[in-house]
Symmetry: C3
Subunit: 202 residues, 3 copies
């Protein structure tokens, strides 16, 4: 139940980030809805297609779609009245990445897939929505341009799996994994944290 609420919260947060991305690209209102939807359902849809889970989560449960529509509408109203709360959004985006990455990992885990596959599927679930948003609004993908992103997902899922292997209850491992992803992501944005970079001449 808590997980379902968190999952809906992750969808809402990514919808807002998609709507803002569409706003930066100067789209009209329905274009905002399209990009908000793609950002919010992209990662989970890829997860469901890769694992052959049908119907896809947002086709099975339309509540996700209503959450996206409400989030996009609220974003449009909000930005006409108030300044965009960039810091609140950075936190929300980090929370969305954390929730999606770990719940994506859990779906793969429930299929008893090997740890390395759990890691990859979880990372893709967390990162795909944002990648699609950036590709469709013709920006340099955030994955590339800003500190820790995919890396945070990988690290958090690895912690989640290692804690469980060490006997930690699944619920605690879940919270620890999400928190680690949020912390690493925010440290990347505000603290300038980053992993060693591979920099080749262009």
């Amino acid at each position: 139940m808590l997980l379902y609420v968190l999952d809906l919260a992750g969808v809402a947060v990514f919808a807002v980030s998609g709507a803002l991305g569409a706003g930066h690209a100067g789209l009209d209102w329905l274009g905002v809805v399209v990009i908000a939807s793609v950002t919010a359902v992209g990662g989970g849809t890829l997860r469901d297609l890769l694992l052959d889970r049908h119907p896809v989560f947002w086709i099975r449960d339309t509540r996700y779609v209503y959450v996206i529509l409400a989030a996009a509408a609220l974003t449009i109203v909000w930005v006409h009245l108030l300044p965009v709360p960039e810091h609140a959004l950075a936190v929300a985006d980090a929370l969305g990445l954390g929730l999606f990455a770990i719940t994506g990992a859990q779906v793969a885990e429930e299929r008893r897939l090997p740890a390395v596959i759990v890691l990859l599927v979880g990372t893709m679930t967390g990162a795909a929505g944002g990648l699609l948003r950036d590709v469709f609004t013709a920006r340099v993908p955030l994955l590339l341009s800003s500190g820790i992103y995919g890396s945070a997902a990988i690290a958090g899922i690895a912690a989640y799996l290692l804690l469980q292997a060490a006997g930690t209850p699944r619920r605690w491992a879940f919270h620890a994994g999400v928190l680690l992803i949020v912390a690493l992501r925010l440290g990347g944005i505000y603290g300038g944290w980053h992993l060693p970079v591979l920099r080749l001449p262009a």
Copy 2:
């Protein structure tokens, strides 16, 4: 039967628009075929994967592929002999968007999926091919840069569903939906029609 012919026409039109996009990007002839194919089958393939319809439409019925190859070849011959009929093409592209969006919606409708899912799947079916074309030829996606596009699809599918709910026969609702999409799209191109835009500082 008429629907099948219209569907093939939609594929042909999108293949031409893909071939022209590839020409603007300076691809070789077989690259033109690749982009024409991706543009023409992209939307329907996404629809079939999301709804778990196998085999995918162009694998089940190769006539689609032959239509694409013929359309790409004709485009290459045409542009060496005659000017590109930009206006005819804009009409054709609008017709393709309309046909794909409504037929995509119908496939979802036949699965008795809720209206909001029918709306989303139809919009994705109509818009995905053109998005892929623009991403792969490294242009700013048309979805973003030019008036009404995804919006036209959403409005047309909504009209199609509302008319049926009001008792209109399916066939008439179909024609009305396609016509509305074509009209909105052409009004966006030639009339400068547009929805309110969300414009945030970049």
Copy 3:
């Protein structure tokens, strides 16, 4: 058995090319792993989704994932110690394209799909990984910018099918197809070979 080894080699080669692409875009180490993975599994994943083959190849056999991780790690170590062997890589990339295109075609062939579908599925299998790499690292896709690429795949698969139709044993047709793709691709890079180009004003 040989085919399986060649398939793993193709995955390794594409992982290296993805890792180098990520390096040119200045990603951190885990970002390098993400792009290397997407490049290496993109084509085969698309093939498996289109043909409804589940579990997807790298989920069924984790050896692919370990090969990708090893290839990405080796690339990171290598570029810190030695110059990037551009020529060796061009050959390896061509070999990867050839192997993926023909093995993708073979999977479609084993389903007794028509020749034109075998051609399309094989081309997509060969080209998709590199396209995703270029889109996600925000470069003009290689498919577009450099000589023969998709075209080499189409020509090689066509030769593979025609040779079999003329009675050549499958094994020899396989080798001939791969060799033709490698030769055309390298001729495109070093010999400036290219097909007629469709060039329209932008």
